[in-house]
């Protein structure tokens, strides 16, 4: 799409920020990424954002693959490398530096309190991700029904979530969406 240093710098800023502020899992970063790349910069649309997220979920490997896909879609191979580096280096550095500290204070009250204090934020962020992704992906009755079906399958049965994605892909091939 766009290939200039301005885009690269913006990618570094966005993903480094997500890297240090989103507590919890990779899913926690979704709302802020969507706000930045879709709402603020307008690099990609809702459809592309939600579809790249789905590809990352379906692909083997960790969920941070999503970051590489976003970077690649926006600015090609350099974009993917920049995005994944900006995402991983700050948080890994923090993790590396604090791991020993956390281990040493395993039973310290302040460590337990800090960790307990961040848990509800993670819950709020993952719930936000769910809302953002549903809004981006559901554009009609058919897609909304697929979201509901996938939710039911993942929530009430113990099947592998990949089965829900595979069923959805087959439904998509038949042309109902």
């Amino acid at each position: 799409m766009k290939d200039d240093s301005g885009v690269y710098l913006a990618l570094i800023a966005i993903f480094a920020l997500c890297s240090v502020t989103a507590v919890g899992s990779a899913t926690s970063t979704v709302p802020e990424m969507h706000r930045q790349v879709v709402d603020l910069h307008g690099w990609i649309g809702d459809r592309t954002f939600s579809e790249l997220f789905a590809i990352a979920q379906a692909a083997p490997g960790p969920n941070v693959v999503f970051v590489a896909l976003l970077g690649h879609y926006i600015a090609g191979v350099p974009g993917a490398l920049i995005a994944i580096t900006a995402m991983c280096v700050p948080s890994c550095t923090i993790a590396y530096c604090t791991a020993r500290l956390i281990d040493r204070f395993r039973h310290a009250r302040w460590r337990i309190v800090v960790q307990a204090g961040l848990v509800p934020i993670t819950v709020g962020l993952v719930a936000s991700s769910a809302l953002v992704l549903a809004r981006a992906a559901d554009r009609g009755v058919a897609t909304a029904l697929i979201t509901a079906g996938s939710f039911a399958l993942c929530y009430w049965t113990r099947v592998n979530p990949l089965i829900a994605l595979a069923l959805a892909a087959v439904l998509g091939l038949t042309g109902v969406v």
Partner: protein, 84 residues
């Protein structure tokens, strides 16, 4: 890469759209499981932090950095107070 090249093909349009919808359902399931696990027995002041985060980030779409500046100290303060 394949997606960037073939994502706009009409035949695959529906596949990607329904994959995206299913992935959204998956994340909703994860979110509700987390909520259920955290409430478990009863509502605690901590849950207010989760609700605040959800409203600020998910509904109002405020910048994560400023939301974190408020909710992280708040969450830690409540956790400290609950464990006193």
């Amino acid at each position: 890469m394949l997606y960037r090249r073939y994502g706009d093909l009409p035949a695959l349009h529906g596949v990607f759209a329904s994959l995206a919808a299913a992935a959204a359902g998956l994340v909703i399931a994860t979110a509700i499981q987390m909520v259920a696990a955290s409430i478990k027995r009863r509502l605690r002041p901590q849950h207010l932090v989760a609700v605040l985060t959800f409203v600020a980030v998910g509904v109002l779409r405020w910048p994560l950095l400023w939301v974190m500046v408020v909710v992280a100290p708040l969450g830690i303060a409540i956790a400290w107070w609950e464990r006193k």
